[in-house]
């Protein structure tokens, strides 16, 4: 699934002209990615032992449970907000297209594992504690991914350009819903990959 590039990814040059893309296609691509994240959580994470889930990474980094808890803290902020903003939103534009904003595209590229190689420090309010109820964290992660799928479905007929959502780290910046979806899902991908690395390389910590 990963070979499908996200439609907004642009060649890295400083004078990026945002391309209009087909909204339906964008949502389908995103849905496929959320579906694969869900499958990973259901197939792998929920079946691991408590010890495996809470084991710190070999480099001292986050455990699997911490990776998912970190994602949950973003879901806690964004999902209810998106839900609220979908109600009474404008219908899809006539040609059914979506265009990323410059800033939205910048954030997405930074977060996307294929284009943003840089590591970041987690923001305040998104730093997971060490001691977690691992299974409750996974159950909540799965619930949130199911909700995200539902939101993507609900957004099909709405205009992803006109709905704007304030971002979690500073409410002064608002991004288009189409960019917020892409950002959240790129961020999910990043930390699910991180959790998978912890899972595959569990010993010698």
């Amino acid at each position: 699934m990963r070979e499908k590039a996200t439609p907004t990814l642009q060649p890295s040059n400083n004078e990026i002209i945002m391309k209009e893309i087909n909204q339906k296609q964008l949502l389908e691509t995103l849905e496929t990615r959320v579906e694969s994240h869900l499958t990973q959580a259901i197939h792998q994470f929920q079946n691991l032992t408590k010890k495996e889930l809470l084991q710190a990474a070999t480099d001292g980094g986050w455990s699997i449970a911490q990776c998912l808890e970190h994602l949950n803290s973003y879901g806690d902020y964004y999902l209810p907000l998106i839900e609220k903003n979908l109600k009474g939103a404008d219908n899809q534009s006539e040609n059914g297209s979506f265009k990323s904003s410059w800033l939205g595209n910048y954030f997405i590229r930074m977060m996307e594992p294929t284009t943003g190689k840089q590591k970041f420090k987690a923001f305040k309010g998104h730093i997971p504690v060490l001691e977690l109820d691992a299974y409750a964290v996974i159950a909540e992660f799965i619930r949130q991914q199911e909700q995200l799928l539902d939101l993507l479905k609900k957004a099909e007929k709405l205009d992803l350009n006109s709905i704007r959502i304030p971002i979690s780290i500073t409410r002064f910046i608002k991004l288009k819903l189409g960019d917020v979806f892409q950002f959240i899902i790129a961020h999910d991908e990043r930390h699910i990959q991180q959790a998978m690395r912890v899972h595959k390389n569990p010993n010698n910590s």
Binding site: E31, I42, Q46, N47, K50, Y135, A139
Partner: protein, 194 residues
């Protein structure tokens, strides 16, 4: 690879073998349907318009009421029949929901086409009676488990019967099906080895 109709035929023959002519008529009423994850196919309060045959994916029949009480009654997965069978056969509003838990593929037959065949072809009436009776048998067996077995025994039974569900379905649905809370369920993941 079996075609979907061949899979249906194999499953049907195991319940009650049909003559070529009856199979011809029976196989003619099915149409393919695909559904995404968490799509509700049958809504409580409405009639069950279809009999489903599962080709791919996992689904559940569940009860949900105005006090937010939820009960997962049955899982369906390939190759088996699905839908709210009592509502279908009695032609009464369904008391339950039927929803997909994973992306799913089905064949489905409309109740009108099915009823017509049941009324005109005795072998198909027998096939349906056999099928419903086997399903009843499964429900009675499950009642015994729910009323008699400990939660750990129920968990082990599920592992024996449908181990693949643990990797396909979020555990909250499995815990609910077994009549235990999610915390209890996760204890068994650590304790009971597959």
């Amino acid at each position: 690879m079996l075609t979907t109709l061949q899979l249906l035929k194999q499953t049907t023959q195991a319940i009650y073998p049909l003559s070529d002519e009856d199979w011809e008529a029976f196989s003619g009423i099915w149409k393919p349907l695909s559904a995404r994850r968490k799509e509700i196919l049958t809504v409580a309060g409405e009639r069950e318009k279809y009999l489903y045959f599962v080709i791919e994916g996992v689904q559940r029949v569940y009860y949900f009421d105005d006090q937010n009480r939820e009960s997962t009654l049955v899982f369906t997965y390939a190759p088996s029949f699905g839908g709210v069978i009592d509502a279908l056969m009695l032609q009464q509003p369904s008391r339950y929901y039927y929803e997909t838990l994973t992306p799913s593929l089905f064949l489905r037959a409309s109740v009108f086409d099915l009823q017509l065949l049941i009324e005109t072809r005795p072998a198909i009436a027998t096939l349906m009676r056999q099928g419903v009776t086997v399903a009843l048998s499964g429900v009675l067996e499950r009642l015994v488990e729910l009323q008699t077995f400990s939660t750990e025994e129920r968990y082990k039974r599920l592992l024996q019967r449908s181990p693949h569900l643990l990797q396909l379905v979020p555990h909250k649905y499995l815990a609910n099906y077994l009549g235990m809370d999610a915390t209890n369920f996760s204890k068994f993941i650590n304790k009971v080895k597959i």
